[in-house]
């Protein structure tokens, strides 16, 4: 059982490394989109500093959503998904392997590059750790929730099409708590309540979404 989990995990990492661009793409997207803002706004230090957490978070959210697009698509199209439902290991467990691999490939690099981008956007250094903390708690949730949307639309040729309509509303609570935490800590208040909330959402997502995803995938196979 755990063996199958590991196999899928390894398989997805291997494929991602084969394609390479799969790993770099969300990262590039993240860096590029964030740097579009100073270009569009002009180099106004005070302004940028004020909106930096918002920009970083919104972009992280978009990067996660977009990188998810291919999470089940290729498995669906080449028939691997059918095969996966015929295995001993329950599908709900296998999808967690895929999502974990996905987070390592996309979420983690985002976290690692964030300090650099934060500095470029004049975020004060003492806020960077809080920024990272919110991202650490938030991006796995985004991956898990996003995967549900992806699973629901995978059978539709135009898959990505209604995706943002399905996913973005579900992302907003995470976004709100994260940016509130950042605002609070910027003003010297405690952000514990928000962080606790984010953790609760993450736990909820980890326990429930695998089942929703597996159910959605099975529906897609119809």
């Amino acid at each position: 059982m755990l063996d199958a989990w590991l196999q899928i995990f390894k398989r997805d990492l291997l494929i991602a490394f084969r394609r390479r661009s799969e790993i770099i793409h969300p990262l590039i997207f993240f860096v590029m989109v964030i740097s579009l803002f100073p270009l569009a706004i002009g180099d106004d230090k005070v302004l940028l500093q004020k909106i930096a957490p918002a920009i970083i978070w919104v972009t992280a959210l978009l990067a996660t959503m977009l990188s998810l697009d291919n999470l089940f698509r290729s498995d669906f199209e080449d028939g691997s998904l059918e095969q996966m439902t015929l295995l001993k290991t329950p599908l709900s467990l296998l999808v967690t392997a895929k999502i974990t691999a996905h987070w390592f490939i996309t979420g983690l690099p985002l976290l690692l590059i964030t300090p650099l981008l934060a500095v470029l956007l004049y975020v004060p250094t003492e806020m960077i750790s809080m920024l990272l903390l919110t991202l650490l708690l938030g991006t796995p949730t985004l991956s898990l929730i996003g995967a549900v949307g992806i699973a629901l639309t995978v059978g539709l040729r135009q898959g990505g099409v209604i995706l943002s309509l399905l996913i973005l509303p579900l992302y907003i609570p995470v976004l709100i708590f994260a940016t509130l935490a950042l605002q609070n800590s910027a003003q010297g208040f405690s952000a514990e309540a928000q962080l606790a909330m984010m953790l609760a959402i993450l736990v909820l997502a980890i326990t429930l979404s695998p089942f929703a995803i597996a159910a959605a995938l099975k529906v897609s196979l119809n």
Partner: protein
Amino acid sequence: MEKQYLFTADLNVKNLACLRNEQVLFSGLNVSLSPENVLFLEGENGSGKTSLLRILCGFRLPDEGDITWGNQSISSVPEYSQNISYVGHKNGIKDELTVEENLNLMRSMATASDIETESVLKQIGLFKQADVLSRQLSAGQKRKLALARLMMTNNSFWILDEPFTSLDKATVVFFESLIKQHIARGGMLILTSHHDIDLSGLSVHHLNLSN
């Protein structure tokens, strides 16, 4: 002589119906299949063969009727679907993995057979391509790889949808003999094919879905 399969039972389909877009594809279908038997699905294009096979795999819920495996409903026997080797219209191989990696993946996910990967590669004639990405295979080579799934596991129930598309004649002969071995070991097989398949010596039931 190969070992007999341990996990087998009778498959019974009762009063099965399948709708697509509010159109009845088939209804009141009754079939049964025992170990060491082959069910050959026939019917013109669009008569519902693929749909039936997918229902048997559990991918699709029947709109009516019951399917039992050893007198239990298949939805209550998880081992039922784990015991299926399905090769459908889609190959179910990963383009980004090499031929060998694909084979090993197939094996590692289920009750593995005893046969060595290397020997499989040789038998299906992809030994030279072992390290080639599957994306770079020709249509027939991909199909061979998909069918190799049958050799990697110890499943006693094979469901094959048009298995021999794009295969050259030598490969077809090889897989025909594989099917015969499978049946001799007490296996079961349901398949469709628009081309003639040599199943001589086997007990084959025909079911025609055209009406």
